[in-house]
Amino acid sequence: MIQPIISLIRMMHSETDPRQISLGFALGMVPGLTPLTSPHNLLALLVILFFRVNIGAAILSWGVFKVLAYALDPLFHQIGLFLLTRVGFLQTLWTALYNAPLLPYTGFNNTVVMGSLIFSLLAFYPVFWGGKFMVLKYRETLMERFNRLKIVQVFRASKIYKWYSSYSKLRG
């Protein structure tokens, strides 16, 4: 758990493409906002692992959005209920999915699953774009100040950091 977060901090301070970090953050949002056991989260996990996105950013994002999801749950239910019951032209689609093989197991007919999934898909690009913007801004303005912080300098001089650095180098 600590390792990916340290890796995220290192990435923020490295030359890593900001898109990798923000994409990890946006992808981590999906399992964060939607119920964890929903099958679509396997797909999100596959994308996070298979494509070169920052896993640390994804794990951090999952934790942050999990907390947020609890607060937003009534909203997700309302969105899901609206889409599943009140949008006339979608009824045929839902009925077809409901009667198709395997698809009922996705839990698409659950109001919270549907609401949170739609919410996270709609929020995906803004979060990705916002994340990229913030990484860039951080590197431009805050990184230097962060490096000059006493606590950071103390931490970098500590044995733990040195031990971790040598361990990382060994791992490649």
Binding site: L42, F50, R52, T85, Y98, N110, T111
Partner: protein, 608 residues
């Protein structure tokens, strides 16, 4: 920059593989846990599975030793199943539909003892409380028949020992109150008539008029010219006397009517005396049971109790069955728990319902013990067909039938059958029960509760024929019991009825079930009512006549003095007023030959 991370794919495959292996390895435990948890919440008591084995490739589930605890008696199981096995259809499972083509339930037993308590743990209890619907907490079946009791006849013997004076102590008698008020009525009438007498022409006035008339008659003018004025005077005076006579006659008639009414109202006392006797008997707790009460206590109460139990079972079951609804109709959203959401169901356009049990075959564990009050079966087997979550889609009603016989030839033939038809908007359910030659033998096995009962059917041979129809919420049912060779055990509190019930012949008992599921009503009728009614009347008359007569005599003796005094009061008033009116009226009689005749207006007789 490389976009693909192949090591990530391997990690993903490893994670998914581990999850799959874990699920397969612990699948039986997971299914067992889910069934136990959900069923426990549905039943309200622990549902435990001894062993569960599933075969992924055969889609077969074998359950051994399933115990469903009784929520009312946690140390007993409502149902225990030795073995339950079923196969799931593969194709519908792809669409998340559970279709059981054939289920075998063996070694079914109920009301079996448990080693540990079957009460729900506090965590599940809390969940259950939160789920409880208002209707579950609400009404129970009609209690009238179940609560029927016989009066305590032993009180009669105690009362016989007490004197009527003692029994009447502290009781307000209506007849006494009436006689207490009666003199006031007489006084009021007297006052009114004395006032009226003062307003009527007095004796002096009448005598004066008569004298004037006599004098006028003697002073007949000789001059013919004065005759018209003379006649005018005579006629005027005669009219006045006649008017007085008429007024007095009317008053006399009115007075007589009022006196007659007063005398008649005095006769009310006799009726009030009878009412008083009834009131006294009622206050002493002496109530006469009806023949229906007798039958109700003897058998109806027990049958009504069983009917209520069956209705309760049906009501509980109906919570889990699909309500009849038109095709394509969607369920209404319900309040949802946080973070769980709500599953919206869509019309099933093709294939199978979400749940379908096509055929289940049952066989009951043979019970060799003959227990009182519990149905123990020597042989019982049956089947259930077409239990589904979507009856409209399935297109057939759910059918069930059970056939068997009871332990020790207690009942030759037991048959329970029925159907639950929830295909239409209004569900139509029907249950039929037939028991042939059910033997009741309770002599020597009377439990303390039964011993406290005044009447008990000690032995009889019953043929039970019952049917219950439920249309929507409305109930329409009938239970007919043909009771042969009845022998009645009479408790000490109803010993008086011993002779009456000794030779009770065969009779029918019918219970009509109506009302609705929340408020059922049960009415009882029996062919024995007529015979018992006449017997009961004779018995009560014989037993209570002495006591009633004694009370009536005491009331009469108390009232007689007051009654005589009141009668004298009325006679005195009658004599006084009537005498006065008669004497005044007597004075108004004109001397002979002076009364005018009809058709001779303006001419006095004797003045021709």
């Amino acid at each position: 920059m490389k976009m693909i991370r192949w090591s990530g794919l391997i990690v993903f495959i490893v994670i998914v593989g581990l999850i799959t292996i874990f699920s397969l390895f612990f699948l039986d435990g997971i299914i067992k846990g889910i069934i136990e948890g959900r069923a426990s919440l549905a039943v309200g008591a622990k549902v435990e599975i001894g062993d569960l084995k599933s075969k992924i490739f055969g889609l077969r589930v074998d359950i051994q030793n399933l115990q469903v605890a009784n929520p009312e008696e946690p140390m007993r199981n409502s149902v225990e199943i030795g073995s339950l096995a079923f196969d799931l259809a593969a194709a519908p499972l792809l669409k998340k539909k559970i279709v059981i083509e054939r289920m075998k339930v063996l070694d079914l037993a109920w009301n079996t003892p448990r080693k540990t308590s079957g009460a729900l743990p506090p965590r599940l209890q809390k969940k259950l409380e939160a789920r409880k619907k208002p209707s579950e907490l609400g009404a129970k079946a009609e209690k009238r028949i179940e609560e029927c009791v016989l009066p305590d006849f032993s009180i009669l013997a105690d009362l016989k020992k007490r004197s009527p004076e003692e029994l009447l102590k502290g009781i307000n008698l209506q007849s006494a109150a009436f006689l207490g008020d009666y003199p006031k009525k007489v006084s009021a009438a007297k006052e009114i008539w004395e006032k009226r007498l003062r307003e009527l022409p007095t004796k002096e006035d009448i005598e004066k008029d008569i004298k004037s008339f006599q004098a006028l008659k003697d002073q007949r003018p000789k001059d013919l010219t004065q005759l018209p004025a003379y006649f005018e005077k005579v006629n005027a005076l005669q009219k006045k006397i006649n008017d007085t006579q008429k007024t007095l006659t009317t008053a006399q008639r009115e007075f007589q009517t009022e006196m007659n009414n007063l005398k008649a109202s005095l006769q009310e006392v006799e009726k009030l005396k009878d009412t008083d006797v009834k009131t006294v008997m009622a206050k002493l707790g002496v109530q006469i049971p009806s023949a229906t009460d007798l039958i109700c206590v003897l058998l109806g109460k027990e049958v009504a109790h069983k009917v209520n139990w069956a209705l309760g079972m049906y009501r509980n079951l109906s919570q889990y069955t699909s309500k009849g609804k038109p095709k394509e109709e969607k369920e209404k959203p319900k309040p949802i728990p946080r973070m769980k959401g709500m599953d919206v169901r869509f019309p099933i356009t093709q294939g199978y319902p979400d749940f379908l049990l096509e055929l289940a075959e049952f066989s009951v564990r043979p019970d060799m013990k003959k227990a009182s009050g519990v149905f123990a079966f020597e042989r019982l087997a049956g089947e259930l067909r077409g239990l589904t979550s979507h009856p409209t889609l399935y297109g057939k009603p759910t059918l069930f039938k059970l056939n068997g016989s009871m332990v020790g030839n207690l009942a030759k033939d037991f048959a329970l059958a029925g159907q639950f038809d929830h295909r239409k908007t209004v569900a139509e359910d029907r249950i039929d029960l037939n028991i042939k030659e059910l033997r009741i033998e309770q002599a020597g096995t009377r439990d303390p509760q039964a011993q406290a009962s005044p009447l008990q059917l000690a032995s009889a041979l019953l043929n039970v024929n019952g049917s219950l129809g439920v249309k929507g919420e409305a109930l329409d049912g009938r239970v007919l019991l043909n009771v042969l060779n009845p022998k009645v055990a009479v408790g000490s509190s109803a010993a008086i009825l011993g002779d009456l019930l000794k030779n009770l012949g065969p009779f029918d008992l019918s219970l009509s079930i109506g009302g609705n599921l929340d408020q059922p009503s049960i009415a009882l009728s029996s062919s024995a009512t007529k015979t018992l009614t006449s017997g009961l009347e004779n018995l009560v008359q014989k037993e209570m006549k002495g006591l009633q007569d004694g009370i009536k005599n005491v009331i009469s003796s108390r009232m007689d003095k007051d009654l005589a005094a009141n009668r004298n009061e009325v006679s005195g008033l009658e004599k006084l007023i009537q005498g006065e009116l008669s004497s005044r009226l007597g004075l108004t009689s004109l001397p002979t030959g002076t009364k005018p005749k009809e058709g001779m207006k303006g001419l006095l007789p004797g003045f021709k």
